[in-house]
Symmetry: C3
Subunit: 474 residues, 3 copies
Amino acid sequence: MPRLVLHPDRLFPADPDTRAIARALYALVAQAPIISPHGHTDPEWFASDAPWENATQLLLAPDHYLFRMLYSQGVSLDALGVPRQGGALPATDPRAAWRTFAAHWHLFRGTPSAMWLNHVFAEVFGIDQTLDETSADHYYDVIGAALASPAFRPRALFDRFNIELLATTEGAADDLAHHQAIRASGWRGNVVTTYRPDSVIDPEHDAFARDMVRFAALSGEDVTTWAGYLAAHRRRRADFRAMGATATDHGFLTPRTANLSRAECEALFAKVIGGKADAAEAELFRAQMLTEMARMSLDDGMTMQIHPGATRNHNAQLFASHGRDKGADIPRATEYVEALRPMLDLFGNEPALKIILFTLDETTYTRELAPLAGHYPCLKLGPAWWFHDSPEGMRRFREMTTETAGFYNTVGFNDDTRAFLSIPARHDVARRIDCGFLARLVAEHRLADWEAADLIVELTTGLVRRAYGLPVPA
Amino acid sequence: MPRLVLHPDRLFPADPDTRAIARALYALVAQAPIISPHGHTDPEWFASDAPWENATQLLLAPDHYLFRMLYSQGVSLDALGVPRQGGALPATDPRAAWRTFAAHWHLFRGTPSAMWLNHVFAEVFGIDQTLDETSADHYYDVIGAALASPAFRPRALFDRFNIELLATTEGAADDLAHHQAIRASGWRGNVVTTYRPDSVIDPEHDAFARDMVRFAALSGEDVTTWAGYLAAHRRRRADFRAMGATATDHGFLTPRTANLSRAECEALFAKVIGGKADAAEAELFRAQMLTEMARMSLDDGMTMQIHPGATRNHNAQLFASHGRDKGADIPRATEYVEALRPMLDLFGNEPALKIILFTLDETTYTRELAPLAGHYPCLKLGPAWWFHDSPEGMRRFREMTTETAGFYNTVGFNDDTRAFLSIPARHDVARRIDCGFLARLVAEHRLADWEAADLIVELTTGLVRRAYGLPVPA
Amino acid sequence: MPRLVLHPDRLFPADPDTRAIARALYALVAQAPIISPHGHTDPEWFASDAPWENATQLLLAPDHYLFRMLYSQGVSLDALGVPRQGGALPATDPRAAWRTFAAHWHLFRGTPSAMWLNHVFAEVFGIDQTLDETSADHYYDVIGAALASPAFRPRALFDRFNIELLATTEGAADDLAHHQAIRASGWRGNVVTTYRPDSVIDPEHDAFARDMVRFAALSGEDVTTWAGYLAAHRRRRADFRAMGATATDHGFLTPRTANLSRAECEALFAKVIGGKADAAEAELFRAQMLTEMARMSLDDGMTMQIHPGATRNHNAQLFASHGRDKGADIPRATEYVEALRPMLDLFGNEPALKIILFTLDETTYTRELAPLAGHYPCLKLGPAWWFHDSPEGMRRFREMTTETAGFYNTVGFNDDTRAFLSIPARHDVARRIDCGFLARLVAEHRLADWEAADLIVELTTGLVRRAYGLPVPA
């Protein structure tokens, strides 16, 4: 059986001179702490510090990168132990699910998932043979045994991973109990929340009605009036800031913004709250609310993240049987230049406002996003996102944004993951790709070596702290 | 005069370490048989085994890659011996046409045509000097003499090229006489057809009326009713399968699909058959028929190929004088995510269905196609097509699809050509580019060497056999 | 303080073998004269030959590449000495502005501006330390002293830069007095104009009314009738040709063309001249005028340049305070295939017509522009433009156009700049990137070394002379 080895030069350019430069840059940041300002880990893990059960439950069943690929090759979600809509687990034995996964591991060749998981297998669990049918049980046993030990509890791993800050993401209808519990526990891990109010802003969200009720209760505001609804957002933003939040996040299909008069807002909101908004009005309401969120960010200093462009739940059958986030979200062409104009007309020239733009449509890097971020004081570029959070995707991001927006209008790396164990792997990949990109610029004499040294530290820890308003350690 | 040399390392990366890996991978597949599941060679060549006449008739006049470039630089099609609309040959002497071509050969520097033709010149005809004005006659004479010999008849070259399978493409109104003749001849070459019913599905196709008459006659069905029309397709699909077809092919401007009720289908078809369908209805009919073809593929197991996005016959003057396929087809932006949804709602989760998507719009690789193919069991990605069937185009294809869809949701190489002599050259280019891509992943420690060895065989012969339902030799 | 060094291998690929090839190619064109057929330098400089004042006035305040980046990071335009709307200078001391710039110089790491300016600092002014806060005054003093000397007057630098031809760009309402003065002066520098009639074609241009009055006066035609308006264009084109112009230039949001009847043109023009054209009619008028310009080019032989796709003055506040060209132009998705069709239907097959297409939407390179230019005799591809006039942008341009359109449907380099001192730097970057691209093709055995040698001369001086109808020196 082939050995599993993480090569120390992995992801660096093959040219020897360039690789040597990349190595030297990497040495400057290899041990830097992990700052994770945007992600989807479960705060309950850190609140309860309960052990995870097994490899399938921890690594496979929650990871839509994994089961989407397996599903595309005819493996059913039931066979992988993926919960059904409502949360019911299939009858599949977790070990059998893991064996199925192992038998299809070759499908991930050349994908970031393979790189991340091999890092987890080798570095976190110390496994030294590759995954396949013959090693599946060995993996399952080694991982299971490790997870039962104190050293693999969430908080222990958090410390081991050298995480300076980890942001989770909660909805506006979340009571933040887990974050309160973390703080009450006395544990020193820096876990913060992020305000993601999509489900109380998007009238077409499947949880809109339910979450508006909770939103009202948690905020203590009358959310049936426009003024009260805005006040509820302000209240909840403050609640989130009390749990460490420095950022909000917004994920609609388009980044459209609007600038309606107060009377128009009130009339539109009345339709929304009355359940009478049609599709165009729902879109307009989301657009207006992006502008309102920007306005509140100017007031309270929270960094605003916009993640548009995903056609959610494209597979209707699968959505009916298994619900959201099952690998069936497909990007779509996204337009920013006209979409953002109403908001930029109002706040575009405010240096105090920080809006981070993300995209699933790489064509916008050179055409729209880098030119926008290279001009407007309030705009910054988020890192290569989701499908593009990969070696080639990150490389394209740098190649297509740097010449117009520079490095300093970017914000470092986001792991954006719920796969906690893969966080070090993901940050490591990003650091290596940045080192390789900078090394090429140095090798081509487009950048001095000392400039690259400066930049790799900025890309790893400096920019993210400034973009997300995080404290800079002494 | 400079020598013409095919360097053994051509198309491999220049970095010595990476090149060494590429060489080792190439050695595994350099001699592999050619499997050509999608192309446009003329089955009459293999039915009659008649000799080709001369270089102009064989290599120049039918190759729109060549004369489009010459035309763009002011050379008339008449001067190149290209037939006019209706088939009349211009008065140009074939040797004079060849001399004109030779005098402009420098225009092809850096293009795949140069690479393919140099391969043909050197490997098939053994010529060892470069083409230019001074060598034009030498070329013309050497090629002409060769073509007159038995070793350069179509069947002899087919054997020499080590072709395991060659698929041609015929319309639904084709009687398949050449394919029958091939089978009746006792020759063992494996030449199969492909069902391409565009001209009886697209009401706006210039041959629609004519071909519907033949379609009716060949199928023996009443194609004036919706039920009879569908039955005729089923009948003809069976006819094609009897001539070896394992696939269908569909080339409309958009990949739009539809899911109409039976009553809606009948009403729409009545308009189409009555010549009363407007542009929107013609588009809707094509959309519905893509869905019907998918449904039939589920029944009869034929692989479905969708080739959208070409604005055909963009040059109106040239279309009037010279007809179709004269280098004036221009790609257009293509949308897949909403276009395919109606069909995917019906059949997207069927692992038994095989739909291969192609594109001329490379922006869809990372944004739409890789995410779709990395999720839906029925979808696979066709190789870089047409303008993108080139070293840079293939490299972009791998760089932009692998991380999201993996290698295993792709289907190997298609030469897609009517230029029979260039088939070995084209497959060789594809193999070399894949070797170079895999070599880079190995050199960057993103893939183990044994994985790359496995993959290059899959990319060359494994995936294509599975995607097109071809037998795997013992 | 780090030294500023221009490495002789800068911008060449890092692989030693490829770099050696690039070096050898570069040696063939490093000393070639500069041919600049499209740019925005001020002809008054060469007419008056007056000295420039200081570093801020010469290098910083007019360069929107520089202040857009600084502005994006919160530096005000006032602090940089950028004039306000109407031309009033802010109170900022030029030396203070330069210090502010120097303190932010790190923002340009990895951008073409850094490369261009370092070239200017080192080569033009002989400065050997890098720019930062501590060297700001040294820079300001050295540059100021140099500018006061005769060797740094515009004409002296023109000669020192080895410029064979420099085209400026003037509007249809320009009296060309500076060009006349240059000719009257007896100076031998070859400075020519370019006919850019946007402000008298686009009814939505803010100077339309004012410039139509001047256009009428300068042409002596009755521009209130369609026939007179066209005659005025013919008259002014002749005026421009008398000042050396061989080209026209057109920069609308879209490349849309139209082919209206004479009666339709007259009716549309009546609305335009009457101030009654709505947005759609204004767009249609611009479209028709592109076709008219092509028709006139067929008559008078002027090369036609189309620069579409910029959303001008996206930042409304900044436009109000500072006017046009302040770094707030943002590209937009651009469609060519249908947009150009009406004009191509008329003139597409004319080999005597030369239309050069530019784009800010790189997705069109492979999808639309290379296929169009690789077919239509009248079409050529302009070089990577504006945001894409950069090492990565130029590399993508070659990688994405060469395989379909070849090298010979491109037109060499445009510096497109008003930053006169950076012209040698910009041409040098383009030559180096082309050398690197050709070197890769040679290293990968896709091109013979003698073909690359031929091509680098074509890309540097041959193609530009032919595309712009310039004389070829003996």
